[in-house]
């Protein structure tokens, strides 16, 4: 039994949901993904509880300290160890079965360990007092320590945790994807659904891994320099360049923006791979693979530099040319989305659809992603940015993109779950989850966008004193529905039933 299987088997409650099926000889592609997926749901539970605490602190007028603590932890837990790790687990399982290669060795272990250990260390730092929000807000961590708001120790612990999480996303996971896709020998017994690397279902994965690696390397250099200085391995004077706010901001947003785009590429790719499996006529063909690939390429090319829209409201501190460029490239991503809309709907119209919970969850997540895309390009327009930057619009956009991608991966997981565990899920519970999740996620997204349009500030502990609590209450209500939908989803995993047919055969069918 692999280490990953052993950890899953020995984890209370969540372990029962993901006990790896060893009867099919597929443990080598099941074990690490199962552990990653299980871990992601543990973090989802943490993030969900913290998400409910945020509006609660405002309703009961509790200390703003609690609000900013939960804000930082909720955002960090939802984005990295939940959403990214879920993508990592399901995506790796999918590609392993597509190219017939085992997910074993030190890279998956390092990816899992650095993500979860890093997130745990960051959690400790936040509990020590470091409240910097999910996007760090540099140089706030250092300024806060200088002002005595939190200790320098908490900054060092926090940066260590962030660094480990970043190393997973920028180094270990992309390297693991490249190793699987381009190196090693294919093993026929591990091939579940063979695909070439040119297919949209695989191309997006390659583009996403390359994006993470290339756009993340400058941040690794800056982060390494800062961390070495914080640990006093090099003098602070040697790290002064990395501590310049402008250097940090550009390297951070180059990566952070592209992290979201890479995750979008990855999930779009997974949708292109999954949708054909549920076509009613059994044709297993997209309307046009070329068009699907074009959408992925457009998304990649436009998104790499579209993150410059983060700097629009710094003008003339930062050049206007960058703002125009960020504006144009952001709307360029909309063209990729328009192509994706046509490809998906034309595919369904051409071939019909088997409306099983997995693919419907993917499609609902995709629709949410389109809503998010529309809100994202709107707020990337220079004029609208001047109205919306820093409001709840941005939080709505960020939360929605994370939710949309997570919902799509949770839908894809429906498809993979029987292969991972040898058990099947209850379709009635699946449909209930989709209904609740649709109401909760679209409701929360639209309310947050409306709050932003009305001027409601994001990351702000005094909505209750400033007249925005109507939006706060609505966010809480939709958040509760969303949370309940996740409980239904997890309950379905918990109550899954054994399948009598050999899963290896079923998976290949």
């Amino acid at each position: 039994m692999s280490i990953a299987s052993a950890i899953v088997n020995n984890t209370p409650i969540f372990g029962k949901m993901f006990t790896v099926d060893k009867s099919t000889g597929l443990e080598e592609i099941n074990a690490w993904p199962a552990l990653m997926i299980m871990s992601s749901f543990v973090w989802l539970a943490v993030a969900g509880l913290l998400g409910l605490v945020m509006p609660t602190t405002q309703i009961f007028d509790l200390s703003s300290d609690h609000f900013y603590t939960t804000l930082t932890l909720h955002g960090a837990a939802l984005t990295f160890p939940f959403s990214f790790q879920l993508m990592m687990g399901v995506g790796l399982h999918r590609s392993g079965g597509c190219v017939g290669k085992a997910i074993t060795g030190w890279l998956p272990a390092l990816s899992w360990l650095s993500m979860n250990l890093g997130a745990a260390i960051l959690t400790v730092a936040v509990l020590m007092g470091l409240k910097v929000s999910v996007v760090v807000m540099f140089p706030l961590p250092l300024v806060g320590a200088q002002m005595g708001i939190w200790s320098m120790e908490s900054v060092i612990v926090g940066f260590t945790g962030i660094y480990l999480v970043l190393s997973c996303m920028i180094l270990w996971y992309p390297l693991l994807v490249f190793k699987m896709l381009f190196f090693g020998k294919k093993r026929a017994e591990l091939v579940l659904s063979e695909r070439s690397l040119n297919e949209p279902g695989m191309l997006g994965m390659i583009l996403a891994a390359a994006t993470l690696l290339l756009t993340g390397l400058p941040l690794v250099v800056v982060g390494t320099t800062l961390l070495l200085a914080l640990y006093k391995i090099i003098p602070m004077s040697l790290a002064a360049w990395a501590a310049e706010p402008v250097v940090f901001q550009y390297t951070f947003y180059l990566f952070a923006h592209n992290l979201m785009e890479a995750m979008a590429l990855m999930v779009a790719s997974a949708m292109y791979a999954t949708l054909p499996l549920y076509l009613a006529d059994g044709s297993r063909k997209l309307y046009s693979e070329k068009l699907a690939n074009l959408a992925l390429w457009i998304l990649l090319v436009t998104s790499v530099t579209s993150g410059l829209h983060h700097f629009i409201t710094f003008y003339p501190n930062q050049p206007a040319a960058l703002s125009y460029w960020g504006n144009i490239m952001s709307w360029g991503t909309g063209l990729g989305a328009a192509i994706s809309i046509f490809t998906v709907l034309a595919t369904i119209w051409q071939h019909g659809l088997k409306a099983e919970p997995g693919i419907i969850a993917v499609l609902v997540g995709w629709a949410l992603y389109i809503l998010d895309g529309a809100s994202a390009i709107v707020t990337s327009n220079i004029v609208w940015t001047y109205q919306l930057h820093g409001t709840m619009w941005q939080s709505g956009h960020f939360m929605t993109v994370i939710l949309a991608m997570s919902m799509m991966w949770m839908g894809v997981l429906y498809h993979h779950y029987p292969v991972l565990t040898g058990r099947k899920l209850d379709p009635a519970l699946g449909r209930l989850y989709i209904k609740m999740m649709t109401i909760g996620s679209f409701g929360a997204a639209i309310v947050m966008l409306a709050g932003g349009a009305a001027g409601m500030p994001r990351r702000f502990a005094a909505w209750n004193q400033e007249g925005w609590m109507l939006y706060g209450h609505l966010i809480l209500i939709f958040g509760l529905i969303l949370g309940a939908s996740f409980v239904v989803y997890l309950y379905n995993l918990m109550k899954s039933r054994e399948i009598s047919a050999p899963m290896g055969e079923l998976a290949r069918a």
Binding site: M147, Y287, Y315, I339, L371, G390, R458
Partner: protein, 186 residues
């Protein structure tokens, strides 16, 4: 009408303008092809091509029009003295956790005001709210940079205009507020 489009609620309307037709179309296609008529369509693949062209052309033109029409409202392109011919009133400020040091809090309506701001510690925002609660404009200040952040704005109505920091800057971020008074022009 464009004055409304390029506001916060205009942004919300634009988002819904893009999303709602898509959502209705997606719902119709998915419902019809999964519950009502699940068989393959009689349309030939070549018959999709004109639809594809129309859809992508519409999306492209819409995107271009929305952005071109917005150029008129870009603060730095429209409100500067070079464009309006009006002399600017200068209001300089420094943001520091968690307050503003503002050179002048009393402003005359109808006169273009150039707000120029710097931050002396971490990143801060400077968002000016209309008395009815709308955001009029927001700016970001990064510490240790050569130039200040700057916006030119002409207030139309007298009243008390709240200033809020919209960039999270620590545990008292929500308390980082100030006020500008706009009076009738002499």
């Amino acid at each position: 009408m464009l004055d409304y489009v390029y506001t916060g609620w205009g942004a919300f309307s634009a988002t819904m303008f893009m999303f709602v037709p898509f959502a209705l179309m997606a719902y119709y296609v998915i419902r019809r092809k999964s519950l009502v008529d699940t068989g393959p369509t009689s349309l030939q693949p070549s018959e999709f091509a004109p639809l594809e062209g129309i859809w992508l052309t519409f999306a492209f033109i819409f995107f271009v029009v929305v952005n071109l029409a917005s150029l008129k409202f870009i603060p730095w392109a429209t409100a500067s003295a070079a464009v309006t011919g009006e002399p600017e009133v200068h209001v300089d400020f420094t943001a520091k956790s968690w307050s503003y040091d503002i050179s002048n809090r009393q402003i005359e309506a109808g006169k273009p005001v150039r707000f120029s701001g710097r931050s002396s510690d971490t990143q801060h925002g400077f968002a000016v709210y209309h008395p009815d609660g709308r955001v009029l404009f927001t700016m970001l200040m990064m510490p240790n940079t050569a130039k200040p952040t700057s916006v030119v704005y002409t207030f139309k109505e007298p009243g008390k205009y709240k200033v809020r920091c919209l960039e999270y800057c620590g545990i008292a971020h929500h308390a980082m507020q100030d006020e500008l008074t706009v009076v009738k022009s002499n």
